[in-house]
Structure formats: structure tokens, C-alpha cells
Amino acid sequence: MADRRSLGNLDWTLLITTLALIGAGILSIYSASRGVSGSLDTPFFVKQLWWLFFGVIAATVVLLFDYRTLIRLAYPCYALSLLGLIYVLFLGRVISGAQRWIIIGPLTLQPSEFMKISLILTLANYFEQHEKTRPWNLRDLFIPAVLTVFPALLIAKEPDLGTALVILIIFATMAFIAGMNPKSILLLAIVGLGLIPLGWSHLMDYQRSRILTLFNPELDPLGTGYHLLQSKIAVGSGGLWGKGLWGGTQSRLNFLPEKHTDFIFSVFSENMGFLGSSLLLILYFIFLMRTIDVAYRARDSLGALLAGGIACMFTFSAAVNVAMTVGLAPVVGIPLPLISYGGSALLASLTAIGLLINVHQRRFKFSG
């Protein structure tokens, strides 16, 4: 099943940009947590390196099997992730006011990260199974919608509005790739927009403020505005040249909130200046273009759907995260894939990249 000619067909650009982004991430995590003294048993960047190791193994394993074979695991994966989400809801570890994590020995797992991949597999499988010659309309979307909304609600309840949002966007994009009727898209968008104020007005006051605080990842008395401002100060004060690898005062002195996770891009930008941050952004853009290219060149609609879902996951998360750190989007708590600290996220991202390479490798059809 392993293709011997794989190495020659490997998408080197995808691989190199991926490794470069992870490298920039680990460097920034090291820089951000350098000042934090002793109380932590293992430094963040060391943990991240371990997760990188696991991630590479996972990606390699994924690479060994044709994605058409792997797709059989879609529903089991989905079921497992769903179980994880339900477990987390009742028994999960609470960190910073959110209940998102499962502790297994030394490992801290975040089921919502794995749910994203599982959902992409599941939806790709479903759309391919029910492939139609005519465009999809709203009625055809009922089952995939249920498959999406159920985990999204569980995740939103953790609360992790950012990931829930990513899940919904993945669904919308994959439905779009699968060939949804443009009229249906328009209708869905209008209905969705119409439901927001309606649902809002039916909420109790305390529920409303609870939802408002979802936008605020920390229970910080100075509020979301403080986070946004400090992030803008960090990015802006980097100037053209940056303050040097360990020179960022905003992160070193803790003015920057969530610096090794949601605001890792601010840390990088403060240290490396516009030269570094624009380079990172361009690097990320090349990486994203490669992911879309994989989808574009896929040999079948399953490959296109899988790669498209993954490309969408990366693109949306990255765009929203960077927009947030530069003050163009509200603080919704979406980490920057491959760069932010987070073991489950890195593992899931690398698995996804394994799948992408898988789709890329097997884009040619060989008869016999």
C-alpha cells in the first residue's frame, strides 16, 4: 500500500513551510515562557517538542495508508471524539474558567481539536457517498448539519466559542466544495444572520452576559479591551526591526495575555518586527495556498473534500487569530495552528497535514 515513488512526489513546499512554521512557533513559545521561573515542571517548548514528535509519528502512520482506506475510520473517529466531548463536559479539567481537557497520565488532551479532523473525515465521507449530479440543496444537508451542530454545541458549552465557530465554518466550506446550490448558500446565510438577533432577544440577561464573556477568554477584570490593546502595543512596538528574539518587553513582563497560546503571533511580531512578522505571514500564506492546491489537484471528490476541509480549518483559524492579535477581530480564543502552544492542536494539525500529503501523493490514478 505504501507507494515507493512517494518520496519523489512529495510536496516539499508544504513540508518545508510546515516545519518552518512549527519552528517559528517553538522559538516563540520558548521566548514567551523564558521569563517564567521554576514553578512549571516542564517548560512549554519542551512539551511542544514532545507533541511534535508524536505528531510526526501520527502523520507518518496516516501516510502509510491510502486515504480511501482511512476513510473507513471516519465514523469510529467521530464517535470517539464525541465521547471525549461528552466526558469533558461532565468530568473535564477546568483551566482558566473553561472545561476542555481530559487528563490521561502525563497527557492533557483536548477532544475538540480531534473533533475537527473527525468531522472533516465524516463530512467528506458523507458528501462523497451521497454525491449527486445536481447541486445540493438545504434538505440534502440535514444529516451533515446535525453531525456538525451537535459537537459544535458541546464545544460551545465548554465554553470554547472559537473552536465551535471553526467547526461550523468547516461544515459550510465543505458543503460549498461538495457543490451546494448557490441559492441555498445565500438562504442559509440569510437565515443564520436572521436567527442571531432573534435568539439573542430570547436570552435571559445572565445568559447574554455569559455569552459576552465567552468572547473574553480570561476572566480578567480589565476586560477584552485590555487584551486587544496590549496585543496591539506588542505588535506595534516591534517596529520594523523588532526587539530581538528575547527582547519583547510586552511578553516578558506579562503585559501580553495568553502569550504562548492565543497571542503567540504578537510575541513573534514584537520580537521580530515587521520584517519577521510579514515574512511569517507570507510563509503561512504559501502554506495555505499549498493546502488548497492539494484539494484542487485531488484525484477524486473524496480527496478534494478532505483536503478542502483541512485547508479551510487552517485558513480560517490562522486568519481569525492574526486578525485578533492585530486588533481587527474580537478576542474569540482561536489559537494559531502549528504555532500556538497546545499539544492536541499540534497533534491534530500534523495528522491533518499527513492526510494532505496522503491526498497529494495519491493524486495520480494508476490502472491495475
Binding site: T173, F176, I177, G179, Q230, K232, I233, A234, V235, G236, S237, G238, G239, L240, T249, Q250, L253, N254, F255, S269, G273, F274, S277, S278, L281, I282, Y284, F285, L288, M289, I292, A295, Y296, R297, A298, R299, D300, S301, A304, G308, A311, C312, T315, A319, V322, A323, V326, G327, L328, R363, F364, K365, F366
Partner: protein, 629 residues
């Protein structure tokens, strides 16, 4: 090699959709790139400044304020260490218990303490719980510091007015800097004026703020987001303020304060030779120590609302009728204008008639014809009515101004100038001509005349020193901590009174007689060994409206004056005593002047019942007297 793409499964529609995704992603990333350019390149320096602001905190180290000393180097005002109690919530294991202990110790309600702690922006930041903790509490806390983790005592210099309310109006007080002052001072100097600091707000503390203050130091530290101090970045040393050496004499001032007692009024002791002030008393007074650590609202309001107006600096700002003291001016005018000579005899009847009105003398019996000396000695009103009528209002006014009346002496920007009426003044203010009948009572210092006690001191000093009008002063020297003299006062002659020496001689003879001759109104100031000259005054007080007309039915108790100098032949000290609504004649304050002269010239007090040594008086006065009439 088969390199051709076989995409039979991949429908065409996929490809156009991916193109849409690429377009969307490109647009978003282009916007993000522009945004980075905007934040980092265009506004980089702005955000860098904000980051620095986050990072550095400056703590000002206050410079020790200069002292204020009397003429002999005795400390009048200095600073004392006071202890402020701080609490750093982060270091307190059991906040409730600690606050409870402190609540009992400091006698502050628990709720108030909790409120203060709650207002702190960070638990790493120390909260000021109480300023100027009592000595007992400080002792207790220092002893139990180990049981009170997180509690610290911080020393702060508090202004200390060693003699409380003594000379309070002169010395002034400190108060919190106002927003406007902060703005002005920040623009004018780089001396670290900061919000909430105490600066001179009144009196010498205000006038000499720049000398007393010194130069504040500063400590710049790097802090983290929680306000923890991480590193010392730089320090700037403080430079202590300079000391003010006054002409004030602590002993004389204290004596004068006690002599005036509970009366409302003022005592000024001045060296007539250069205008140096040895004592400046205003009563009632207030204790500036209560301003030192910020006066509480109610106390300040009580001072403001007190009907006796303790904040009013009567010596400089109180304007009163000069009463019979003004006869000195009338006499000077009359002699200079040739209206009388020292020997001219004028009657001193019980009444003087002018127009349809009778103006009475303060004595009911006719005193017979008198010369100037006698008229001053007995303070004969009817004598001076006649003189005033012969002079007219404008000539009297000219000499009144010549002796410093009608405008501030220049001692303090806050002082008042009094009032010298003239025909021109009346036309301007009341739109009426001056009526001759009004001139009569000018002769005895009644009418619209107003003077401050300080102006009276300048006037009597000029009589004593040969007509020199000096600008009064109280700061003799300003000395830096290294002993360098940065300011030294030189006597400042403002003007010369327009009088001949003979005129002054004649007046001085009269003032001698006031104290030393039988029937003189100031006899109680007599000191056999010294030779005191003086003049009494008793003002009938009526309320005047703004135009200077009497408000009908208003009646107050009399004001009293006593102005004097000594020794007669070599005047070294002038003493002015004024008591508001005292209800007694000026002669009552003769003994007060006497006490001050005795103290200053170190003359032992005579035994209470010993008869006055008349022989000595006559010896001193020999050749200076004409016969009494």
C-alpha cells in the same frame, strides 16, 4: 512516466470553487499584511512609547524641605518623620484577620480598610491604609512585624510647625497641589511636581516655595503587568531645600502672642531702622500642623465658617479706621503747611461747632488752650478738628499718602492698601463733591480712612527714623544646605515722607508726652529707663456701606490702637497693637507695648508696687519739652 493528470472523478465545479477560496484567502492576508505595516512601521514609535510606559514606573523621592528659622537661628518650622502604614495584599496570608487587627490598632472601621484594599488595582501594589500613624501604634507594629506579614511602615517627612498656631498667618502652610498649579509648574520647571504632593499654599511657605522645596529625586524601575518591581533602571539624587532665616524674634513673637491673648487683632513689632519684622501676630489663629497631612473637609470648613475668621491675616489684610493715631498725620500736615507752629495755642473745648453741628471732645470739660505737644498728649479732639478744617481734606490726604497710607506696603501680594479719601476720590466713587463739614472729623482719624496694622507700623517707624518709608521684610537670608547664601535682604527704601526734620521733632515731642507726661493717654506704657513714645487710638465702630455711608442702627464695640517706639533718642523698636471690637480705649494696651519693650531691651520688670521713677524720665526728656498749657 505518466505525468498527465487524470481527473475524471473530479468535477469541473470543484475548481472554480477553489479559485474563490484562493481569492478570499489572498484578500484577507493582504489586509493583514497592510495592517501589520500600519501597526509596526507607520505607528511603531507610538506603540513603542506605550510599551515603555507599561514597562517603566517612576517613583519620586521627595527632597527634604528647608527649615524656617528665627533671627537667632531657632527653628520655627522643620519637618518631622511620620509613619505611613501600607499593606501589600499579596503577602498577607489571612487578609480578614490582619485587617481586623489593624482596624483595632488604628481605630479605623474594618469596612473602611476593606474598601481601601478593594480599590487597589493589583494585589502586588501596596495600599496606603493610614497616614501619620501614632507613635504608640508604630511601636506596636514594629514589635509585631513578624506576626503581620504584608504590613509595612514607610517614613515620610511631615511639615512641623513647632509652635503650632504661632505666626501661622506669616509662616503659611502646605496643601495638596491643585490641577492648575501642577500644569503651570510642570511647564515652568523640570522639578518633578507630581499629583497629590504638598506644596506651599500660603504665607512664606508659598512665597518661598522654590527655595524651600529643593529638588526631588526619582527612582525609575521596571515593573511587570502585576506591578511587581523587577529591576532598578536609574536613580536621581534629591537635593534638600534651602533654609529661610527670618528677622522674626521667637521670644518677642511668643510674648506678643500671649499678650494679645484671646483678643481679635494684631501686634506688629518692627525695627524702624530698616523695616525688619520681629513679630507679626494675628489673632485668632489656626494650627497649620493640621494641614500638614491634608486637612479633613470638616475641619477646613469649620475654619472657613468660623465667624471670627481665623484664616484672615488681620495684620496685612484687616482695614480699620486709624482713629486718633491719625492725629500724627494731621499734625505733620499742619506743621508742614504752616497752619500751626509747635507753639500755636488752640482751644480744647468740650465741643467744636461747625455749620449746624457740634463735634465733641472725648473729655466733657473744657481743657483750655493747648499747644501741639499737649494736644497730642491728651489727644484733644477739638484741637484737631480746628486744624483739619484749616487744612482741608486734600492736604491731609497728601501727607497720609506720604506716610504710606492708601497703598500696600509691598510686603505681601495678599495685603490690602487701605483708603485715603480726597475730593477727587469722592467725586469718582460717590459722584459728589466733598462737603467742608466732612473734613472736621478727619482731624481725629474718623471718616472714610482705612489702614492696616502693617501700614501703621510703617508710619510710626517713619516718624521714628526721620521720615523713611521702608518696605517691611521678614526674610533676612536664604541659605543652601552647604551654607551658601543665595539671597540676602537689603533694606529697601520705598519713599521719603514729605516732612522737614523740625516737623518730625515736634511730633516726636508730642508722642513722648503721650506716654510720659501727666494727662498723657499712653502713660501705662511708660518705662523709666527707656523713654517710650506712642499714640493711642480708639475707633468708634459703625458699619459703612460700600460708598462709605453709615448703616443706620449698626453699633459695634470700639477698636483700639496703640502705636509706639523706643528708645526715644535712638529708636530701635516700633510696636503696633491693634484690637478689634475690644471695647476699651487704646490706652489699655500701653502695658502690652511696655512688656514687649522690657523684653526686647532686657530691662528687668519693676516690682509691682514700686513708684515710677519720674526723675529718670525727666532726665531723658530734658530739653525736649515745652511747658504744658
Amino acid at each position: 512516466m505518466v505525468k498527465s493528470r487524470i481527473n475524471s472523478d473530479s468535477p469541473e465545479r470543484f475548481q472554480s470553487r477553489f479559485f474563490f477560496l484562493v481569492l478570499l484567502t489572498s484578500t484577507v492576508f493582504f489586509i493583514l499584511l497592510i495592517r501589520l505595516w500600519y501597526l509596526q512601521v507607520i505607528n511603531g514609535s507610538y506603540f513603542r512609547a506605550l510599551a515603555e510606559e507599561n514597562r517603566f514606573r517612576e517613583f519620586i523621592i521627595k527632597s527634604p524641605r528647608g527649615k524656617i528659622l528665627d533671627r537667632n537661628g531657632q527653628i520655627l518650622v522643620d519637618s518631622r518623620p511620620s509613619f505611613n502604614l501600607y499593606l501589600r495584599p499579596e503577602d498577607v496570608p489571612d487578609l480578614d484577620e490582619t485587617l481586623d487587627t489593624l482596624s483595632h490598632l488604628l481605630d479605623i472601621p474594618l469596612e473602611k480598610l476593606k474598601e481601601k484594599v478593594k480599590q487597589s488595582p493589583s494585589s502586588y501594589r501596596s495600599v496606603l491604609l493610614k497616614r501619620d500613624v501614632s507613635r504608640d501604634s508604630v511601636a506596636y507594629i514594629e514589635e509585631h512585624l513578624l506576626d503581620l506579614p504584608g504590613v509595612t511602615l514607610d517614613v515620610e517627612a511631615l511639615r512641623n510647625y513647632r509652635y503650632g498656631s504661632m505666626a501661622a498667618h506669616l509662616l503659611g502652610y502646605l496643601g495638596e497641589i491643585t490641577d492648575r498649579q501642577l500644569q503651570q509648574l510642570r511647564n515652568r520647571s523640570n522639578n518633578h511636581y507630581f499629583l497629590g504632593e504638598f506644596i506651599g499654599q500660603y504665607g512664606l511657605e508659598k512665597a518661598y516655595e522654590e527655595y524651600l522645596r529643593g529638588i526631588h529625586g526619582a527612582r525609575q524601575v521596571e515593573v511587570d503587568a502585576l506591578g511587581r518591581e523587577l529591576a532598578l533602571v536609574s536613580t536621581k539624587e534629591t537635593y534638600p531645600g534651602s533654609d529661610l532665616q527670618l528677622t522674626l524674634d521667637l521670644d518677642i513673637q511668643r510674648l506678643a502672642e500671649s499678650l494679645l491673648g484671646d483678643r481679635t487683632g494684631s501686634i506688629i513689632v518692627m525695627d524702624p531702622r530698616d523695616g525688619a519684622i520681629l513679630a507679626l501676630v494675628t489673632k485668632p489663629s489656626y494650627n497649620p500642623n493640621q494641614f500638614a497631612s491634608g486637612i479633613q473637609g470638616e475641619k477646613w470648613l469649620a475654619l472657613l465658617k468660623d465667624p471670627k475668621k481665623p484664616l484672615h491675616s488681620r495684620a496685612l489684610q484687616g482695614q480699620y479706621p486709624p482713629a486718633s493715631v491719625f492725629k500724627i498725620i494731621v499734625a505733620a500736615a499742619a506743621l508742614e503747611e504752616g497752619v500751626i507752629t509747635p507753639n500755636t495755642l488752640l482751644g480744647c473745648p468740650a465741643f467744636y461747632y461747625f455749620g449746624n453741628r457740634a463735634y465733641r471732645n472725648w473729655k466733657k470739660e473744657n481743657q483750655g488752650p493747648q499747644n501741639l505737644t499737649r494736644a497730642l498728649a491728651t489727644s484733644c479732639d477739638t484741637y484737631f478738628y480746628q486744624v483739619a478744617v484749616r487744612l482741608g481734606v486734600d492736604k491731609i490726604g497728601y501727607y497720609a499718602k506720604g506716610f504710606g497710607m492708601g497703598k500696600p506696603t509691598g510686603f505681601d501680594p495678599m495685603e490690602k492698601g487701605g483708603l485715603v479719601p480726597t475730593t477727587e476720590w469722592k467725586r469718582r466713587v460717590r459722584g459728589e463733591p466733598w462737603y467742608p463739614g466732612e473734613t472736621v472729623s478727619l482731624g481725629i482719624g474718623q471718616g472714610p480712612y482705612l489702614v492696616t496694622p502693617l501700614q501703621q507700623a510703617i508710619m510710626i517707624s517713619a516718624i521714628a527714623n526721620g521720615g523713611k518709608i521702608y518696605k517691611p521684610y521678614v526674610v533676612r537670608k536664604i541659605v543652601t544646605p552647604e551654607g551658601k547664601v543665595v539671597y540676602e535682604h537689603k533694606p529697601e527704601l520705598v519713599s521719603q515722607a514729605p516732612v522737614k526734620p523740625e516737623t518730625l521733632d515736634a511730633i516726636r515731642k508730642g508722642l513722648w508726652a503721650v506716654v510720659n507726661e501727666s494727662g498723657g493717654t499712653g502713660g501705662r506704657a511708660r518705662i523709666a529707663e527707656l523713654g517710650v513714645a506712642g499714640k493711642t487710638g480708639t475707633a468708634q465702630v459703625v458699619r459703612l456701606d460700600r460708598a462709605g455711608n453709615r448703616v443706620p442702627g449698626s453699633n459695634y464695640r470700639d477698636h483700639s490702637w496703640f502705636v509706639s517706639y523706643a528708645p526715644f533718642n535712638d529708636p530701635q523698636l516700633a510696636v503696633v497693637i491693634f484690637a478689634e471690637n475690644s471695647g476699651v480705649g487704646g490706652s489699655t494696651f500701653g502695658p502690652v507695648a511696655k512688656e514687649i519693650f522690657l523684653q526686647y531691651f532686657h530691662i528687668p520688670k519693676p516690682a509691682p508696687h514700686a513708684p515710677p521713677n519720674l526723675q529718670a524720665i525727666h532726665t531723658v526728656a530734658s530739653g525736649k519739652q515745652n511747658g504744658e498749657n
